[in-house]
């Protein structure tokens, strides 16, 4: 038996130490040198999950159900693997929207709904306050155990509370929470000192538990093997080991795993430490494996302690829940027992502190403030500075929560309703899961769905779990359990609709989740989400796609003045902090000073999120709306804004496409313009060339005419020579004029065509006859190769003759001077008739082979002076051949002559045109 004074002093000294640590943490934070800004402190603060229920209760549970205590820790381990997706998203969303509690989170997600926030708060308070009571009970039991051992433990709850140390501890915790939880109102609502203290507590409870475990396993026994071997010798214990105990029911195992998976992210205290108090989301990385490691470490010795206790104490003489304390004491290890006591105290106080602050934030922001702000007669909306009132409400809420917790503990005492509250609490917060997790990943969830799901799940929980626990405690007639309500068998709360064979937790989890998820999904799909719901859904679900702060302002449109907004903010967080907030805003926007800040959607959103930290998102929206003339956004407008983002990409692609098309069009235009300019230039060139070609013969004609007229005494020989020149040049002039006109007609399509069946042999004969004189004069040998049978072609005989003449005279002009030879061949091919005219002249260079078909482009022949002809012959010939669907081209190797060929298409049915 220990001195009561020592234990009391130790307890209060320990809590005093927490004050010191928290004070130091806050000082450091104010100085900008945070001691909690690292992943290890973050992990330790997450370990607030392990309460006295873990510290004392795990051993108790292991003593009755073997491995049955483990799912509570395996679930969070598995969930930690999903934190990367789930918790990170919650952190990001909460930081972007200044969300400070789970109630605020759900309310904000579904269009900043007061009703939803209030409902979540009520469920949380109902589910968690008894849990706080359980912690106080654990403290109380540990007190009396320490004081009264080895006598049977009598509950201190029977004492008047003023003589109960637990009451003073509770009040001390209230003071601590008020001091470090509500030092000031701050948009971030982070409490560094408090987190430092919680992390310290996590170390204490781990060290204490492991110390006891090591003592039991290696001090009292000879290691793990020995503990298990000795236990195996006891038949009742062996059964516990082999079958996995009485709770070796796999359904229970699975539902506890699921329950604890949900609890680790949905318990208000977990939300507080994991999300609200998170300094840097990167700390989550390490916590993903460090936190499960913590859970693993604190559970290693649970079984040895449980088994050791069961073997050490006569059956039933000592409550298994107190083994952690009683085993060291029975071995006279007083200091170890004191360490274990402090460990248990730390586990309980840590939970109480964090849970209280989380609940008080919810109560203040989502229950009290919305109501107060609605009561017009309080004129709160006109009040100058609400920060004092807000702090008052927070502090009152803390006291109220703790008093409620103590009251419940005081009244319930040993009742079943308190003992079993751990899992009942878990099941209560599990009701948040559909609205919460659905809201994170499904845009379709609506306020109505969340409201209906939560309410239905909550009612099922109330009916099938909480009320039965009351009945078991004797507060309700037990017939409620055995016969159901008003004797309806199907409504027996723990065998709803006759569902039997499940333990009460699995049973409740099953039914509550069925109705919760069912209503959430069903009513969400009932009708279109409103604009507010839709915009919030997008902000939450797509949080990783939205760029950091201010992104919420996309869904807002309205007007306000900077002064109004600043006044509003200072009313909630005080003028000094409001000023700081505005300065921070100015900095973030790259504005030199507060004076230059302009009221826009971003600023309004910023102010709203700052206020949201203090009074919750739903109320913050109302407050901001009171100074801002907001133009309501219709749903289709919100949809349009959302679409905008997704369309932006498509737009940019389209734009790119358009600009490419434009570029192509520009290029085309430029090309067309160039062609036009080229054509214009060609036309100028043509006219200029025609002018030149006309003036040249005219010059000779005029010059010789004047010479003849001025020199009548010229010799007759010279006279006739000059007259010959005049005649020749006149002919040239005439020919040229005819050809120009001819070409113009051909090119404009105005030429007259007289198509008929043409026998190319006759055309060739005509042309040869016309040129025979020239060929004879120049001693040119002409070979003709004509097949016996030649198909007729459809053409204009005169025109084709013109082409033949042109090509034959060209050949005569260009063929070799010495051994002149020109050959003509008519060849009938499959679909065309081909004519080849070959000379043995100097040939045409590759570059000139295309040029010669252009107008006035003649290949200069230096050795023989300027070539004869107008330079239009080949152009005209090509026009004619092309008109009849043929082709005219030249092949030549310079130095060996040139071969001009043209084709004319043969009619489909050759037979009809075969000439005899």
């Amino acid at each position: 038996m220990l001195s009561g004074a020592l234990i009391v002093v130790l307890s209060f000294a320990y809590v005093g130490m927490l004050f010191a640590i928290a004070y130091y943490g806050d000082k450091r934070a104010d100085a900008g040198r945070s001691i909690i800004a690292n992943p290890y402190i973050y992990t330790l603060s997450l370990a607030v999950y392990c309460t006295s229920w873990t510290f004392y209760g795990s051993v108790g549970r292991a003593a009755t159900s073997g491995i049955g205590f483990l799912p509570i820790y395996l679930g969070p381990t598995l969930m930690a693997a999903l934190w990367w997706y789930v918790l990170l998203k919650m952190i990001r969303i909460s930081k972007a929207n200044r969300i400070t509690s789970i109630a605020d989170f759900i309310a904000s997600r579904y269009g900043k709904s007061h009703v939803l926030g209030g409902l979540v708060t009520i469920i949380a308070v109902l589910g968690i306050v008894p849990y706080i009571a359980l912690q106080l009970k654990a403290i109380s039991v540990s007190f009396s155990t320490m004081l009264q051992y080895p006598n049977a433990v009598a509950s201190t709850a029977s004492l008047p509370f003023l003589q109960d140390n637990t009451f003073y501890i509770a009040m001390l915790l209230a003071a601590f929470t008020i001091l470090f939880g509500t030092r000031h109102l701050d948009a971030t609502e982070r409490h560094e000192g408090l987190v430092a203290a919680i992390a310290f507590e996590s170390i204490v409870k781990l060290v204490a538990f492991i110390a006891v475990g090591v003592f039991v396993t290696y001090g009292m026994f000879d290691g793990f093997g020995d503990v298990f071997a000795k236990a195996a010798a006891v038949p009742e214990l062996n059964a516990l080991l082999i079958q996995g105990g009485a709770a070796g029911n796999y359904t229970t195992w699975a539902s506890l795993t699921v329950l604890s998976m949900l609890a680790i992210i949905l318990l208000p205290r977990q939300f507080q430490v994991a999300v609200v108090e998170n300094v840097n989301e990167r700390h989550l990385n390490k916590a993903i494996w460090l936190f499960p490691l913590y859970l693993f470490a604190i559970n290693i010795f649970v079984l040895p302690i449980a088994l050791g206790g069961l073997m050490h104490f006569p059956a039933g003489s000592v409550d298994a829940d107190t083994f952690v304390l009683t085993l060291p004491m029975s071995e006279q290890k007083t200091w170890l027992a004191l360490l274990a006591f402090v460990g248990g105290l730390s586990a309980a106080t840590g939970m109480v502190i964090v849970e209280t602050i989380a609940l008080s934030t919810m109560v203040c922001n989502d229950l009290v403030m919305p109501i107060l702000l609605r009561w017009k007669f309080l004129r709160l909306t006109e009040s100058r500075d609400l920060s004092g009132l807000l702090l008052g409400i927070r502090r009152s809420a803390i006291v109220v929560v703790l008093v409620l917790g103590y009251g419940y503990f005081y009244l319930a005492g040993e009742a079943y309703a308190l003992v079993s509250i751990g899992l009942i609490s878990f099941t209560a917060v599990a009701q948040f899961a559909p609205a919460m997790i659905g809201g994170l990943f499904w845009k379709g969830g609506t306020r109505l769905g969340a409201l209906c799901g939560l309410s239905a799940g909550f009612l099922v929980w109330l009916y099938s779990l909480l009320l039965p626990s009351f009945a078991k405690s004797g507060w309700l007639p037990i017939t409620f359990l055995t016969e159901g309500i008003m004797g309806f068998d199907l409504l027996k709360p723990q065998q709803l609709f006759g569902l039997d064979g499940l333990d009460d937790i699995s049973h409740c989890l099953f039914w509550s989740m069925i109705v919760n998820v069912g209503c959430y999904v069903g009513f969400s799909l009932w009708r279109q989400p409103t604009a507010a719901e839709h915009s919030q859904a997008n902000l939450f679900v797509d949080v990783f796609r939205h760029v950091a702060p201010g992104s919420g302002s996309r869904f807002w449109r309205g007007s306000a003045t900077v002064a109004d907004l600043q006044t509003l903010l200072s009313r909630f967080i005080g003028p000094e902090r409001a000023n700081e907030a505005f300065a921070a805003y100015a900095r973030s926007q790259g504005i030199p000073g507060i004076e230059q800040v302009t009221a826009n959607a971003v600023l309004v959103h910023y102010v709203e999120s700052q206020i949201a930290g203090a009074i919750g998102s739903a109320s913050a929206r109302d407050m901001v709306a009171s100074v801002v003339v907001e133009e309501p956004l219709a749903l289709d407008e919100v949809m349009a804004i959302i679409d905008e983002a997704s369309q932006a990409l498509a737009y940019s692609r389209q734009l790119e496409q358009k600009s490419r098309e434009l570029e192509a069009a520009t290029n085309e235009l430029r090309g067309a313009n160039q062609r036009l300019q080229e054509l214009d230039r060609l036309k100028d060139d043509f006219i200029s060339t025609v002018t030149h070609e006309l003036r040249t013969p005219l010059t000779s004609i005029r010059a010789f005419s004047e010479i003849l007229s001025d020199n009548p005494q010229l010799e007759s020989e010279q006279r006739s020579k000059f007259l010959g020149i005049i005649t020749r040049e006149s002919e040239r002039l005439t020919r040229l004029i005819n050809q120009v006109l001819d070409l113009a007609k051909l090119e404009s399509g105005a030429a007259d065509w007289h198509p008929s069946e043409v026998d190319m042999r006759e055309v060739l004969d005509d042309a040869v006859a016309a040129l025979s004189q020239i060929y004879k004069e120049r001693h040119i040998t002409l070979d003709t190769r004509v097949p016996e049978y030649l198909p007729l072609v459809m053409a204009d005989r005169d025109r084709i003759t013109q082409v033949m003449l042109n090509l034959l005279s060209n050949a005569a002009n260009f063929c070799d001077k010495e051994n002149s030879r020109v050959s003509v061949a008519l060849i009938a091919e499959f679909a065309v008739l081909r004519v080849e005219i070959t000379d043995n002249g100097i040939g045409i260079s590759a570059a000139d082979q295309t040029v010669i078909f252009e107008k006035f482009r003649q290949v200069s022949d230096m050795s023989s002076g300027k070539p004869r002809g107008s330079g239009l012959g080949l152009a005209i010939s090509r026009e004619i051949i092309q008109h009849f669907g043929g082709r005219l081209w030249v092949e030549s190797t310079p130095g060996t002559g040139a071969k001009f060929s043209f084709t004319l298409p043969l009619p489909r049915n050759n037979a009809n045109f075969l000439a005899a």
Binding site: S688, R695, L698, S700, A703, E706, I707, R728, M862
Partner: protein, 133 residues
């Protein structure tokens, strides 16, 4: 008429025009040389610097403008007068020729009397840079 007859070089690729010019100038008593393209003209210019060059603009190999520029660049030919003969009659072409240092121009077809008046004027030394008539 001076003791030593003036030398005239006719550069013209059109046979009949060359023939007419040769006749007209020869009848007047000038010593006439001919060239049918720019390259031949250049050779004639180097061997026997003429007092006057009658220069067709559209010439094979080296055109009249280029020849005009070459003559003006050559200090030995500073006294040589140049008369351009153009068949195109474009203002821009005439301006270009005059800018390159031609002393006179004539548009084809021309009056033989105009031609001879200009030739005489250029060779007597007071007909330089006549304005267009």
């Amino acid at each position: 008429m001076s003791a030593t007859p003036s030398r005239v070089l006719i550069v013209e690729d059109e046979e009949s025009i060359l023939l007419s010019l040769e006749f007209l100038l020869g009848k007047e008593g000038y010593t006439v040389n001919t060239a049918r393209d720019g390259a031949l003209a250049l050779r004639e210019l180097q061997t026997q610097p003429p007092d006057l060059v009658l220069l067709d603009v559209m010439l094979p190999l080296i055109d009249g403008f280029e020849l005009c520029r070459l003559i003006r660049e050559n200090p030995e030919l500073h006294a040589t007068r140049i008369m351009l003969l153009t068949a195109r009659g474009r203002e821009a072409e005439i301006a270009r020729g005059m800018a390159l240092g031609a002393d006179a121009y004539l548009t084809k077809p021309f009056s033989t009397r105009d031609l001879m008046d200009k030739v005489r004027g250029l060779l007597s030394g007071n007909g330089t840079r006549q304005p267009a008539s």
